[in-house]
Symmetry: C2
Subunit: 197 residues, 2 copies
């Protein structure tokens, strides 16, 4: 009973309880992915360290799971340009002031990962996904909560802050669709980057 209670630790993830956030994740992401739920705890930790009232952008260092935690808990989405996804393979994210580039990066604290065997197996991919005990993994994430987070102050590279002004939109002579003029005569898709056969 004591053990059960300690596992059912009360934590908040943004405006949600742990259980509520699990439902929100399931609705958006399709299933209660441990990466999105842990990501929610990380985003929450970053939000708490950000000065209030500033406009911020987000950067995810992986395309897996974390972008959805950012989209569910901040105003930053893939489509509004305030969330940037970089495929660096690290399970970490940053929120930063749109103007100054000053912000907070959150990753997992290596020492804490050691305290939770299921989390360790998941983070380092020590066992195949199918063999993972998802329920225990989620219980570890809930139990660890914000103590799992390693928090760093960062400055984003200045060139990331620059708003790229795309050229005028012109019509591609091959596909007849509008695209930002890059001076190459046709749109990128018609110049070999088409994702279609």
């Amino acid at each position: 009973m004591t053990e059960l209670r300690s596992k059912q630790k009360r934590i908040r993830i943004g405006p949600f309880s742990f259980k509520e956030f699990t439902k929100v994740v399931t609705r958006f992401h399709g299933f209660p992915a441990p990466g999105v739920i842990l990501g929610g705890i990380m985003v929450n930790a970053a939000l708490k360290k950000m000065p209030s009232g500033i406009l911020f952008n987000a950067l995810s260092e992986t395309a897996k799971c974390l972008p959805d935690a950012v989209q569910l808990l901040t105003p930053c989405t893939a489509g509004n340009g305030w969330l940037q996804i970089r495929n660096l393979g690290r399970f970490a994210l940053a929120l930063y002031d749109k103007k100054t580039g000053k912000g907070i990066r959150v990753s997992l604290a290596p020492s804490r990962i050691e305290d939770f065997p299921e989390l360790k197996n998941w983070y380092y991919k020590l066992i195949p996904k199918e063999e993972a005990d998802t329920e225990r993994l989620l219980a570890s994430i809930r139990e660890g909560g914000s103590s799992l987070c390693r928090i760093q102050e960062i400055h984003i590279q200045p060139e990331i802050l620059l708003k790229v002004k795309r050229g005028k939109r012109i019509i591609c002579p091959q596909c007849q669709e509008a695209y930002p003029d890059g001076g190459r005569g046709s749109c990128p898709a018609c110049l070999g980057e088409s994702p279609y056969e």
Copy 2:
């Protein structure tokens, strides 16, 4: 009165009325962006052409607005890997069968763009954003509805269908964080791709 009524055409965008979808977009995207609302009509048109009961992925040919329409109306999100965003600069998207790669691409019908001056100004960026009449643009999008869509059958490139098996996760000797082993000795961020100063 007649003109007003014709502008208030009843259309459905997924499970939503036009007005409901505008609210859903505002909540997620931050404001009722014409690109996301038009994107919703395009996603809806694609969904209607897809065979029922199949598992599908999505591909957006632009990072602007369209990814959010996909995320709001399909199970595909940036973080679950079912939505791929390619920066080809074309305002178009595709939904395709995860297994066969067969699917539907939706772009804007050039002939219909000519029928709506506000839409034309927006699509070809003929006037600065600040000078655009957003209300009239949204009325045009509503009035045009699915007739604005150009629908094509496509086959996605086979290599896009392949699931990339990332290597084992190892610890980067520089930042001490886990990343998928690419045989380069350190993680991409420590090898010069860091977004931070």
